[in-house]
């Protein structure tokens, strides 16, 4: 059996917290605390969860923009998590990243054409006239006018800048694009344009996406599978239909209930979670979610529920969802 395009295993990223003068380490932010998942070629895996749960840290660690504290990241079966820069270079081409705020990720002093040429020149993929042609066809492909190559990032609208960021990522023909909240800063009408573009590109080039978002409607639209994160851990991982049709983790249930539905005829009584997300510097023991979970039991306070495959391809980390168990309503 061939290896998946991306396999992340036991990934941890802890950030030391410094205080005082001279500064000393007073604790750790457990930003990502043991995360595992696969992404197949041509597949979209979405990471959802509230701010601070570790989504961007997973994205950056996968991209090796951050070095992991523990765990491995294998691209096409090759572990890149501890590779040196020189070796990494060859693998970098396969993965590209698109950020939420295209403005801060695009060099303001480079023209749009130069921004898209840069990776092509870097990896020595094209030069001269061929380079120009490649850039022009990339512009066309993402829906930018070819004469926009001469413009600078600030002359583009938010949606156009995101197209530019996508063109830059596409330039080196990657097999995986990590997209960190790529449409979160856009208005809905423009968001629709960018989501359509991403879906078209995936079909055309067989791209895989690790798609980070806090917006469940966007995730439901674009994802094939979804991983729900809470305080640095995946609490549920399932196919889209399973997650949105029959979520099994109490936190997923709460997230789905909280997201407003744009249909007044479906106004409903909904489960509203109490309290705030605890600090990732001191996550609650046992199940991280027990301080807000309406179903929490004694054991949840001490024992960490493992992420288990309770149904085929449906993974849940909750004591009340044992493997092969009945999946009815939980009781409080």
């Amino acid at each position: 059996m061939s290896a998946p395009l991306l396999r992340v295993t036991g990934l941890k990223k802890h950030f030391p917290v410094h205080r005082g003068l001279p500064s000393r380490v007073v604790g750790q932010v457990y930003a990502v605390d043991g995360v595992s998942f696969d992404i197949a070629r041509g597949e979209t895996l979405c990471l959802v969860g509230e701010s601070g749960c570790g989504k961007s840290t997973v994205a950056k660690t996968v991209m090796r923009l951050l070095a992991p504290t523990a765990g491995t990241v294998a691209l096409d079966g090759v572990d890149i998590s501890r590779m040196g820069e020189a070796q990494l270079r060859a693998h970098r081409r396969q993965m590209q990243i698109v950020f939420q705020d295209p403005y801060s990720s695009l060099n303001p002093y480079l023209s749009a054409g130069a921004i898209v040429s840069e990776p092509l020149t870097n990896f020595e993929l094209a030069s001269g006239q061929e380079l120009e042609q490649r850039v022009a066809s990339l512009f066309e492909r993402v829906g930018l006018r070819v004469d926009a190559v001469k413009k600078y990032p600030h002359e583009f609208s938010g949606g156009q800048r995101q197209r530019l960021g996508i063109a830059r990522a596409l330039a080196v023909k990657p097999s995986l694009i990590v997209a960190d909240e790529p449409v979160s800063a856009l208005d809905v009408s423009v968001q629709a344009q960018v989501l359509n573009l991403l879906i078209d590109l995936q079909e055309e080039f067989g791209l895989a996406y690790l798609f980070v978002s806090h917006d469940l409607a966007v995730v439901e639209h674009i994802g094939h599978r979804v991983a729900v994160m809470y305080l640095g851990r995946i609490v549920e991982l399932a196919g889209n239909a399973d997650l949105f049709g029959a979520a099994l983790h109490p936190y997923s249930e709460a997230l789905l209930a909280a997201a407003p539905v744009p249909d007044p005829e479906l106004r409903r009584e909904r489960m509203v979670l109490q309290g705030d997300v605890p600090s990732p510097m001191a996550p609650p023991p046992g199940c991280h979610f027990h301080t807000r979970c309406p179903y929490a039991r004694e054991r949840c306070r001490t024992e960490t529920p493992p992420l288990q495959e309770v149904k085929p391809a449906h993974w849940v980390a909750c004591h009340l969802r044992p493997v092969g168990g009945p999946f009815g309503q939980l009781t409080r």
Binding site: I199, E220, L255
Partner: protein, 344 residues
């Protein structure tokens, strides 16, 4: 100037806004941020103002509150009446007695309007001392009661906290407590949950709606999120490029949107349904092509014309009137009949 009717309700209005115009005078000409907006807010209702960024929602709210300083170079016109009191002609001193008392406002980022060096209890108490002339002690006690009312746990202790000691959700609760302390007739909430996570957003929206019920305060809720509109409002106004393009009761607006822009907005959101069944699995979302017009040039005709698939020649010449097409349902479009007949 457009002729009446430009508003859907006139009976029982606590707040009446007529032909509000706020233009910013910049070096490269006037920015027509709000360009002739009229609406009524009924006693105790929730009215949503929805539209994409830059369409003039915040400037409308700030203009109503008279919170746009003169020194930024702006010109304002129109009328704002709060229970019969014309606000636009009041002196700044008179306005201060009304702001935070009979009409209040909360913002997306509570930190910008909370004083970082005063405890939250003191900030609520201050409003009560000024507007209701409560003595220090009584004001503090009432402040603690208000914190309890917005469901802050351990309110007596929390009252002595500074804003930075609270989470984003708790700060927004404090803002709501301050805004409602004097029991205003109208609360304007400008994207109050946009910076919050969905589970906290749900808490805050529920709290606002519950307090509205209890205090019979009318809420003007500004949002870019049609989901929030659908779940909270009785009526909604859709804005585009500084103008009101549609106004309707919420169920009617979603069932029968009459302005092509409103239709585009509703169709461009990836839809979830309560049952969790998506209507359009990985299908294409409907796009609104193009981008919003610049507010620096005078817009002749319909502001949406360059992006509108229904546009006819007249649209780029004449500004469409906001006419009623169904009970309480106004739309500013020359081609409403064709739009209504088209499949969505």
């Amino acid at each position: 100037m457009a002729s009446e009717p430009e508003v859907a309700v006139t009976a029982n209005a606590v707040l009446s806004v007529r032909d509000l115009r706020t233009h910013f005078l910049t070096r490269d000409g006037a920015v027509r941020a709000v360009d002739g907006v009229s609406f009524d807010v009924k006693r105790g209702e929730t009215l949503c103002i929805v539209g994409e960024s830059g369409c003039g929602k915040s400037v409308s709210a700030l203009s109503i509150m008279r919170l746009i300083p003169e020194n930024v170079g702006r010109s304002m016109a129109g009328s704002v009446r709060l229970e019969g009191t014309e606000l636009t002609t009041l002196s700044e001193r008179q306005m201060r007695a009304i702001r935070g008392n009979r009409i209040s406002m909360i913002f997306q980022e509570p930190m910008t309007s909370l004083n970082p060096v005063l405890t939250v209890g003191a900030q609520i108490a201050e409003s009560l001392r000024i507007h209701q002339r409560l003595p220090q002690r009584a004001a503090w006690e009432r402040a603690v009661e208000m914190l309890a009312m917005v469901r802050i746990a351990d309110p007596a202790r929390r009252a002595a906290d500074y804003p930075h000691q609270l989470s984003g959700g708790m700060r927004q609760r404090v803002m709501i407590a301050i805004a409602l302390a004097c029991n205003p007739q109208v609360l304007i909430a400008d994207e109050p949950t946009t910076a919050l996570d969905v589970t906290i957003q749900a808490q805050i929206l529920n709290l606002m709606l519950e307090l509205k019920q209890r205090l019979s305060t009318a809420i003007v809720l500004i949002t870019h999120d049609l989901g929030v509109v659908a779940e909270t409002a009785q009526r909604a106004i859709v804005m585009y490029a500084g103008r009101k393009v549609e106004e309707a009761p919420v169920a009617e607006l979603f069932r029968n949107p009459l302005h092509p822009y409103t239709r585009g907005l509703i169709n461009s959101i990836p839809r979830r349904t309560a049952a969790g069944r998506r209507t359009n699995i990985r299908g294409r979302l409907q796009e609104i092509s193009g981008i919003v017009p610049s507010l620096r040039e005078e817009i002749v005709g319909c502001a949406f014309a360059p992006r509108c698939s229904f546009a006819v020649e007249r649209c780029s010449r004449e500004r469409p009137a906001l006419d009623p097409h169904a009970p309480e349902h106004l739309a500013a479009c020359w081609e409403v009949a064709r739009v209504a007949a088209a499949v969505r």
